[in-house]
Symmetry: D2
Subunit: 499 residues, 4 copies
Amino acid sequence: MLANEFSVDAPNVTIKGEEMVSHYDYHTSHVVAGADGIKIVPETKKFEFKTNLHVPKTGVMLIGWGGNNGTTLTSGVYANTHNLVWDTKRGEVKANYHGSLTQCATTYLGQDEKGTTYVAPFKALLPMVNPNDLVIGGWDISKLNIYESARRAHVMEPAMLVQIKDELEKMHPLPAVFDINFVAPNQKDRADNVIPGTKWEQLETVRKQMRDFKEQNKLEKLIILWTANTERYCEVKEGVHMTPEQLLQGIKNNDPEISPSTIYATAAILEHIPYINGSPQNTFVPGLIQLAEREDVAIMGDDFKTGQTKFKSVMADFLISSGLKLTAVVSYNHLGNNDGLNLDFEKCFRSKQISKSSVIDDMVGYNPILYPEGAHPDHRALDEYDSDIFCGGKNIISVHNTCEDSLLAAPLMLDLIILMELFTRVELKDETMKDFHHMNAVYSVLSFLLKAPRTPTGTPVINSLFQQRACMENILRATRGLQPLNNMHLEWKMPVKHN
Amino acid sequence: MLANEFSVDAPNVTIKGEEMVSHYDYHTSHVVAGADGIKIVPETKKFEFKTNLHVPKTGVMLIGWGGNNGTTLTSGVYANTHNLVWDTKRGEVKANYHGSLTQCATTYLGQDEKGTTYVAPFKALLPMVNPNDLVIGGWDISKLNIYESARRAHVMEPAMLVQIKDELEKMHPLPAVFDINFVAPNQKDRADNVIPGTKWEQLETVRKQMRDFKEQNKLEKLIILWTANTERYCEVKEGVHMTPEQLLQGIKNNDPEISPSTIYATAAILEHIPYINGSPQNTFVPGLIQLAEREDVAIMGDDFKTGQTKFKSVMADFLISSGLKLTAVVSYNHLGNNDGLNLDFEKCFRSKQISKSSVIDDMVGYNPILYPEGAHPDHRALDEYDSDIFCGGKNIISVHNTCEDSLLAAPLMLDLIILMELFTRVELKDETMKDFHHMNAVYSVLSFLLKAPRTPTGTPVINSLFQQRACMENILRATRGLQPLNNMHLEWKMPVKHN
Amino acid sequence: MLANEFSVDAPNVTIKGEEMVSHYDYHTSHVVAGADGIKIVPETKKFEFKTNLHVPKTGVMLIGWGGNNGTTLTSGVYANTHNLVWDTKRGEVKANYHGSLTQCATTYLGQDEKGTTYVAPFKALLPMVNPNDLVIGGWDISKLNIYESARRAHVMEPAMLVQIKDELEKMHPLPAVFDINFVAPNQKDRADNVIPGTKWEQLETVRKQMRDFKEQNKLEKLIILWTANTERYCEVKEGVHMTPEQLLQGIKNNDPEISPSTIYATAAILEHIPYINGSPQNTFVPGLIQLAEREDVAIMGDDFKTGQTKFKSVMADFLISSGLKLTAVVSYNHLGNNDGLNLDFEKCFRSKQISKSSVIDDMVGYNPILYPEGAHPDHRALDEYDSDIFCGGKNIISVHNTCEDSLLAAPLMLDLIILMELFTRVELKDETMKDFHHMNAVYSVLSFLLKAPRTPTGTPVINSLFQQRACMENILRATRGLQPLNNMHLEWKMPVKHN
Amino acid sequence: MLANEFSVDAPNVTIKGEEMVSHYDYHTSHVVAGADGIKIVPETKKFEFKTNLHVPKTGVMLIGWGGNNGTTLTSGVYANTHNLVWDTKRGEVKANYHGSLTQCATTYLGQDEKGTTYVAPFKALLPMVNPNDLVIGGWDISKLNIYESARRAHVMEPAMLVQIKDELEKMHPLPAVFDINFVAPNQKDRADNVIPGTKWEQLETVRKQMRDFKEQNKLEKLIILWTANTERYCEVKEGVHMTPEQLLQGIKNNDPEISPSTIYATAAILEHIPYINGSPQNTFVPGLIQLAEREDVAIMGDDFKTGQTKFKSVMADFLISSGLKLTAVVSYNHLGNNDGLNLDFEKCFRSKQISKSSVIDDMVGYNPILYPEGAHPDHRALDEYDSDIFCGGKNIISVHNTCEDSLLAAPLMLDLIILMELFTRVELKDETMKDFHHMNAVYSVLSFLLKAPRTPTGTPVINSLFQQRACMENILRATRGLQPLNNMHLEWKMPVKHN
């Protein structure tokens, strides 16, 4: 049974005004490796969690607003806000948030005395922002309004977009930081909406844009999210990127290896606004991470964990935790849409390769009825998982995935915004600490949503998807005074009769 | 780092001789659904676990020993016992237990003060039977010795089998219960090794075979495992199957709806020997389950959870727990080997279908060089997972699996034997109980290993693979005084500096 | 270079008014198997072809007009007639005839003296009906107009259908022959538009409907095409189905084993209207074929050769003609849309099967946010081709096909109509014949378009797709005095310099 | 019915001693594009074919003998010669030539008066070399004997190889031309068997090796076949590669852009030995082709047409000739074995790419039981064919291919050797020629067997597999006085009764 909301009758939790404090026994253990072997020492630590229950008016500014992800997120939120319904050849479709952990996934609560099982939506674990209430804005290097960009993206049905055309047409991306040195040369053609000046001037402009957006929309909270095309890696250099001071000086010096994304992230930190990096680029140089820690501003990345990578981690987890020896994972990505531009870029660096497609060219050439123009492929991917099984056997699993990446990315971006906003309202302390503090500035608690999750310096990365989800779920439970889910269900395993 | 063994420094655990007792705080919660909504009430229950640490000399009797699974398990264990190495075109292969949870999967222990992460093999959690030490025997309706059966199975490499030919040739299956009424008609041809007499006489014979096997091999413990071809469902009838008394009387009456597998399982229970059902058939009629509970004998089933089903549960878990709306799973099985026999049987019940393969028949007919004889396909399967994603989008994942089912089944059968043996050495009690007791006779703790896991009457089935694994892992941890894994890693999330 | 039309400068071809006569040397050979081995005797036979060049005003009556194929064909033709353009999320789509051999495939003409290669559309080989000019009508057991049926089919985009809504809404299928004994029980619910009376009365009604349609639309030619749901096989009986007389008497006797499709086909033959069977059913009982031959009316079947079967024949051809030993083809069809109804029907005849889907049921059940209603899968198919290769090697080719069957079927149905109309304008004679005659009533020349192509009694079936295409192409070339394509291109293989 | 041999009763064929002469009417047509449109002019040309019926004692020298293809061909031929049988887990395997067009494919002969259809093996069309009689030798840059190389290749079963170990061990590759400048740097490690000296000295050595091999084995004919790793493209330069004279001078000048393969091919031409290039490299520079034409020596290439490319051409042919609009073919190759070495090489030229595999690395790292060493994948490939279908529909065909490339390559190499030997015994003349001549030195008649088939300068490439096969088949038929197969089967289409 679905409980859309629930209370917790926990003696260890107190609520005062908008503040909830939970006293929590954290059970863990450490290893002592000594002369007499490996010894595990269980321990119970006293923690306190303090959560602000007030859900602030929240906005998000997307870097790359006019791209596929940005327009899909924006039009999808508006479609939900207006409860849109549209016609497709498969029948009517209603706006929804499928693919969002917070909106559509559930968490186990327990059974009542009749044996009925209760679950709740993830979003019921603590008060969270409703995606329908998000104020959306952002930057793009192209002037195109969001309706035009959405049409160009070929992701959402025209029959839906036309219903919110008026609203989307009024949305104009802010001028953006642009550096041809960090992107594919052909991006230049799109770049008609850029911030002029030196890197330092750009930083100042971006900071002002953030402040203005917050003020104009009367926001209590703002989140910045990078969802533009992937930049090339910047070359991390001693003297430019290694400390907060170097970084700020580097920007002032207009150093060519300071990337646009690093400028946005620096601006956000200086404005005390959380920043999330949705691409696989090294925005977070060492000096920037230190700056975030020093300023106590939340940052997290890298790269949205949509379909294929998410799946890969599940598969590896499944096979290896079953005792199978996964010997190879071979991946292939056949990208559609704008990503193709960067692929062209990559080709410039490759040695010339003889195309095998010439084999079919003359057949195509023989049929000019069918072939006047070019084609446009969807996003598909193939992964193969090879495992060694019992005594020399082989198990081969081929997984073929067809999807539109932006439709997976958009709800995940919403989760990132909602959960980042939420976790910045949670503070904690252990027995050794006097005051409550935010978690470390690198919010690894969001690892579930990111391909290459960042962790605080010196701490390990957890890639298992189910462990990442358990981490988030159990911490949210802890804030409400609940121990972690242990799945033991001992009550169901008791002997029939006993004395 | 891998710790092949470890100790636990837990004040709540005491070891006396071969008995280990753990005092354990079991954290759970229940739901109260009242007028003022859903309320979760956390609670902590005091449990004690008593584990016998002595690993007994253990045997297993396989029903269907001469089948693909039985011969693969047997030859695989002997290959491991002798550390065999054999030549294949891919290179040398060494005997191993890949695919076995107990032998090849690991469990997380913790970190030491230097930050090194320690894991241990699952088998290190408690003392378990070494598969190399198992005494293997069983029944088959065919007289073929195990070497001949293994060759006929086309699973293990001849270059391996030839090295243990002498041992395998000496293994002769015991005569088996056979009822043509429960299997495909063509099985009759193989049935040259059957127990004569009425069902009651067959029951007595089987009980004696079990006692003899135990005695001849000086076993401390015996496990019975059904791995023969799937029987048709018996028609469960009032007056025959509903109570222990009815069941025994039904056997005495030679009732035609008492299946061979139910005779084996009844015999096992009467001999106080655990019984595991590896096929998807209704061996465990209500009277039999009650008999097991009354006699406090462990039973578990149904159907080995090899490749495809295991995978399906992971996929469903993954998609739905990500908030995606899985709308269809379409499965296709293209079975090889002996399973084909039952497929023929099934066909008898079908309406005649016009084969489309005739389309290629004449091409085949045009080329008598290539086509003198028949063909023999491997095991392959295709599943497709359709999900509705954001705002009307579609995600389609096609999974193609190629494997030899027996090579996945054999290590899983070993896990079932080893873990069933282990869990029958574990007793528990809660605050309301005076004495220690075994778990309920239906050992749902083994659900991870079975496709359609049984649970005690009135308790829900958990199908999530990761929850099933966590259940088993956390109960084993509890016997050693360790709290469940919570994946929270709070220590890695603390602010950099604090006061 | 594409030549949309071309002339042939052949001394052996004469055109008089609307009649073109070609004198043709047909090169063939026969085998003499004697005591001294196999001897091949080449021979050249003199043939004449007479082709009527007048393209008649042509109509088609579809049996099952309101089904997916019927509505797709109808709306597709109207979309082409009006040159429609519609918006989709991939961009604008223009109406086209992709998938039609006659409209979109090309044939090789030759090179000019500069070495330029010329090809022509297949439809340029002889004057053929333009699909835009077809008059479309037909029967359906449902009263739904064609617009409503097309929407219900979920095949064509709403954005296209809405543009021809007025025309489609005015199309109402004629009442149809309906016999619940030949279809799935659930079809009864749709059947609100049926012809009453005995089978003989139904035959008379259908004949009148055909005459009326021809007259009302001032047609010079009419073709009947079965595209309704597949009937069960009728049980062919001595005394009912074996001669034309038995067949007509059987209809008069209201014999229960005379199927609706046989009634339609009999009516067509009696009206001298060509009949094509697009389903895999035995409409063409022996007496009906003899009736067609006696009345010299063209018939052809069975079953539209869309995607998967077409492909299968190409694969078999490819593999075997390369000397590979194809050992197995395993096929799986996962049908969408209405075909499901018949699947349900089939299930009734099957023994009960234990669903494995229960494994995921409880996961689905755990998430009531996502799962209020049912799902509706597309058409997909998997085939696997196993071949034995050199010295014990294996080659496995898995082919996964995603498509909407009706979009493949509609252009193929148009080809059948157009080519059937064309070939009934072609007559031939060999040296032994005084007069020109139509081909045998069973028009095997259309084999390329049918899954289980019919051939005249006693003649072999050719399944190779490329041979089927060559047959049709070379016969059309022959009518214009052109020898077959031999692909030898000797002129390109001559030595550089010669004396 | 299979006819292993057959005679032809053709009045236009005469046999004198070992010479067969066929007078042949070649039917073709040309296009005249004029003011009044496109006109096709059919014509019949008189040709004569002269075929030497004596099958010579033939040898082949493989460049790259010790590689996967070379050792597979060699061991496979010996396995056939000795009629070997070996044991595998699937059962006994017998040596065979599956995959060879000449040995295993059939050709249609005709029907006898009873309607029995006769086919013959391709090898029965004309007397051809039996692969069992081939003398095999060659070069390799590694000293390893052929048994050791075959084991290292992981292609053939050890149980087969061990039976011919003595013979294979005695086979030692000749020292080979090696130029590190044309291959991957890591090939250097294998290169312990190379010809010293300048390029001209190498040319002389290779010519002597050819003469010696022919003499020592008393061969009447020798064929050279390149099957070594692919070289990089040489940079074709004016003054070095454009004429025979430049080429020979370039070798004398030790020009760095003269590749090893060009040295082998030049040597072969100068020795009047046919040369076949099985890799996708530009061995055949303009000067070399002119040299072959001047010396009237047969050459042909490039690249063996095994599995995937062959298939791709069939697919394109199938889709487009059905009137479907193939919009994209996306290919992925996941190569095993030695090809990996060149892939590494290729990587050197690419820009650095961030590996995504790190996602699963820590899971692997968590399980040291399973992961001590590296893995070795098979050869697999995925191709996807997207087509636009009727009115905006989409058809997607995914083809997944698993095979061992060498097992497909070896029989194809045998076909190339056998057919090249055969076609060099065929001469032809048309009406304008006084004497018989070989075909043009570039034997495009073998296009069926090569990925990027060469054609004589100025003539078009035919890529359709079925057209390539028809070309070869119809030319062989012509040499025996038979007209091409036309697939019309008019005799099966005649009306039932006629006057």
